[in-house]
């Protein structure tokens, strides 16, 4: 039933007169008919024959690619040592970054630096590092590490102790939370590169129009958001990052900390506490009471930034990167945005989750000294100033926040320094990723109304204790 319909009238004769078809001549009549039914013989045969010939060429090509693509230049050239720096893409004109690298190369004759970008999604970077480092890769020497990975990578034995690069007298240069994130079991495994912390963005013009001050407590934020929405129902009140992902943990911890709660205290799990319940009850009430739109339950940084940036929200929690974008020439909210530390619950202090990236040194690096020198260079005040100016990366060094040149270009840095001084790292443990998965799910359940805060916290407490008890 399949053969019948394939006849398209290409006579079989063509095939038997084609060169190289001698074997076809012996077909019986019946077979001829069947064979003729398949059609377009000559063309197909030519394609296939040439394909098969092409295959041997391909095989050779594959071997060639494999041979020259095998990785690194031969070891016989000691004069030039290449170190590889893995990092995520810096958004903006790449020339400034390239200039920094050239400067390092000029200062260190015989050392070349190859900067290789990773996909920006932090999960993808983590996956890349894990598989490569587990496989004992020495293909990269310096790694940009999310602050939450340092303890994990150190425990796995993948990154070297870089305590030498951070002299004790230099510690005061860096933010406390940043140093804490780079330290595990008393040793330093990374050098802070740039930092992030949660900030409150608000619309100066709207607050002024309706007679509100920038809110200092969550209750004030709630009152202002609801009151302004009375007048401007098309506006959203407060947008933040509520999708089930790492960003939700960053957001939720800020409520918990600013209510006096925490995740771990002296190694004990303290999730199931009155302070945390108060914090999560507030978080869970944001959407039902109309302070936040339902869309926050899938929002990551960019969707919330777009909404606030097109003038459709009164308040937003986000990282500092958004500020520069709001002040661009074509921004609808240019000049109307203020930043402040995140609100807190009455009687407690404001808290911001520390984000950002540290530089680590691959323990299998073939050129540890050169790699260390590169880390020192990249975390130097000069490099950090350049990265801050060109890419809006917030320096990990505190004194740059008083740098007149930088402040002129980015006045919000002044506000940011106080926030970063009070920022807190997420729990520093090699098992943070496991903790985070539990917290993400429970926080998401509270935010979407699937679970009561008390139950979610009790469950999170149980799960977290179980995780930390594993060998």
């Amino acid at each position: 039933m399949r053969r019948g319909r394939a006849v398209r009238g290409k006579p079989f004769l063509h095939a038997s007169t084609a060169p190289g078809s001698s074997s076809n001549a012996h077909f019986s009549a019946g077979i001829r008919l069947r064979a003729a039914a398949v059609g377009n013989l000559i063309l197909v045969r030519r394609v296939i024959l040439s394909t098969l010939r092409g295959l041997s060429v391909l095989a050779a090509a594959v071997l060639l690619v494999a041979a020259c693509g095998g990785g690194d230049p031969p070891a016989g050239a000691p004069a030039e040592r290449t170190i590889v720096f893995k990092h995520s893409k810096l958004f903006g004109d790449p020339t400034a970054f390239a200039a920094l690298i050239r400067e390092f190369e000029a200062q260190h004759p015989g050392v070349r630096v190859r900067a290789e970008t990773l996909p920006s999604a932090s999960d993808e970077q983590h996956q890349f590092y894990v598989i490569n480092l587990r496989g004992g890769s020495a293909d990269f020497d310096v790694l940009a590490l999310d602050v939450i990975w340092v303890a994990e990578f150190a425990r796995a034995g993948w990154i070297a102790d870089v305590g030498d690069l951070l002299a004790a007298e230099e510690h005061g240069e860096y933010f406390d939370a940043s140093l804490e994130s780079a330290t595990w079991e008393g040793r330093t495994y990374a050098v802070p590169w740039f930092v992030d912390a949660g900030l409150l963005y608000y619309r100066k013009d709207l607050l002024a129009r309706y007679g509100f001050e920038p809110p200092r407590t969550w209750e004030e934020l709630e009152r202002a958001a609801l009151a302004i929405r009375e007048h401007e129902p098309a506006l959203h009140g407060f947008v933040f990052q509520g999708k089930q992902y790492e960003g939700l943990v960053c957001n939720a911890l800020e409520y918990m900390w600013s209510a006096g709660g925490d995740v771990l205290r002296d190694g004990d799990v303290v999730l199931d506490s009155a302070a945390n319940r108060r914090a999560l009850e507030f978080l869970g009430s944001l959407v039902p009471r109309g302070i936040s739109p339902e869309l926050v339950t899938t929002a990551t940084e960019e969707p919330s930034r777009y909404i606030f940036g097109s003038g459709r929200a009164v308040f937003m929690r986000n990282w500092p990167y958004a500020w520069t974008l709001f002040e661009q020439a074509d921004s609808p909210v240019r000049g109307k945005v203020g930043v402040a530390p995140l609100p807190h619950f009455a009687g407690h202090d404001s808290a911001a989750t520390l984000g950002g990236w540290n530089l680590g040194l691959n323990r299998r690096s073939r050129y540890p000294d050169e790699a260390a020198a590169f880390i020192r260079f990249m975390t130097s005040p000069e490099a950090q100033r350049a990265l801050a100016r060109e890419y809006g990366l917030n320096p990990a060094r505190r004194r740059l926040y008083a740098d007149p040149g930088l402040l002129a270009a980015q006045p919000h840095l002044e506000e940011l320094r106080a926030v970063l001084d009070a920022a807190r790292p997420r729990p520093v443990t090699p098992r943070y990723a496991q903790l985070s998965q539990v917290l993400q799910s429970e926080f998401s359940a509270v935010l979407t109304g699937l679970d009561e805060p008390a139950e979610a916290l009790a469950e999170a407490q149980r799960e977290t204790e179980r995780i930390l008890a594993r060998p």
């Binding site: 319909r5 074997s23 296939i48 996909p119 920006s120 999604a121 996956q127 293909d139």
Partner: protein
């Protein structure tokens, strides 16, 4: 009446398949300021800046070339090895036919995420890390079960007398395969080839893990490199997604008749 119904139905099907792509097209032509505002449904002015940015800001041409080499190489290998295997299974009465097919199928039941890490060890051991060869080899192996399956079914419906006659005529088995069987298997090869090509063209997880630099990066991984730490250039991503779809569309258009024929024979026999 029936004809009108047919055309109405065809229009609906086309709309169903094309609507998300059409929206992607609209997105890719929007000025940045209009990206996240609705209305207007259609952009007030068209811009090609996202397309320009795709090629100016990234080695996108190189990535396209890499994708072509990888998908093409995997397709050729899967076709060559797959047709040889299918030939042995159908015309040479290889023993353990059912068992071999079952094993072949079973290998495709494992979740790919679990085999990334061991496969990395293998690729690294072979010295193929960050090469196109690594991806060609990987994708060819993933596509082989499907290739063997479709081609086995296709070859099975070619009469055994063809092979017998060729042998009587003095052909070696290889000549019989290359000169007699394969020329008749064109539609089967075209269908299989397209299936393999698309699988290889689209793969992301392994490409992400095995590639490190632009010399081996394919388009899906390349697009994942577009965003910065926080910023996501939606317009560029939309433009790139359309560009990457185009080559496959052309291939399907060129080969669509053979694909349907090849699958017709391959599929129904089971």
């Amino acid at each position: 009446m029936r004809r009108a119904g047919t055309y109405l139905g065809v229009l609906l099907v086309a709309a169903y398949c094309l609507a998300p792509l059409a929206w992607q097209l609209v997105t890719s032509l929007r000025p940045p300021a209009e990206l996240t505002t609705l209305p207007p449904l259609l952009p007030t002015q068209l811009t090609f800046e996202h397309y320009a940015a795709v090629f100016a800001g990234h080695p996108f041409g190189r990535m396209l070339l890499n994708s072509f080499i990888v998908a093409g190489g995997a397709t050729l290998i899967a076709l060559a090895f797959g047709s040889a295997a299918a030939f042995a299974l159908t015309k040479m009465r290889a023993r353990g036919f059912g068992l071999i097919l079952a094993i072949v199928l079973a290998t495709s039941m494992f979740p790919p995420i679990a085999t990334v890490s061991p496969l990395y060890l293998l690729i690294n051991g072979l010295g193929l890390r960050d090469t196109l060869a690594a991806l060609i080899l990987t994708y060819a192996s993933f596509a082989l079960p499907l290739a063997v399956w479709v081609l086995t079914n296709f070859l099975r419906q070619l009469p055994d007398e063809l092979y017998a006659a060729a042998r009587v005529d003095g052909c070696t088995p290889r000549q019989a395969l290359v000169r007699v069987i394969l020329p008749l298997a064109g539609p089967g090869l075209a269908a299989t080839g397209l299936l393999v090509f698309i699988v290889a063209w689209n793969e992301f997880l392994y490409a992400l893990t095995f590639t490190a630099t632009e010399r081996s990066r394919t388009v899906p991984v390349g697009i994942a490199l577009f965003p910065g730490l926080h910023e996501v250039p939606w317009g560029e991503i939309a433009a790139a997604s359309l560009i990457v779809t185009l080559p496959v569309f052309v291939l399907v258009l060129l080969f669509q008749r053979r694909i349907v024929e090849g699958l017709t024979a391959g599929a129904v026999k089971g």
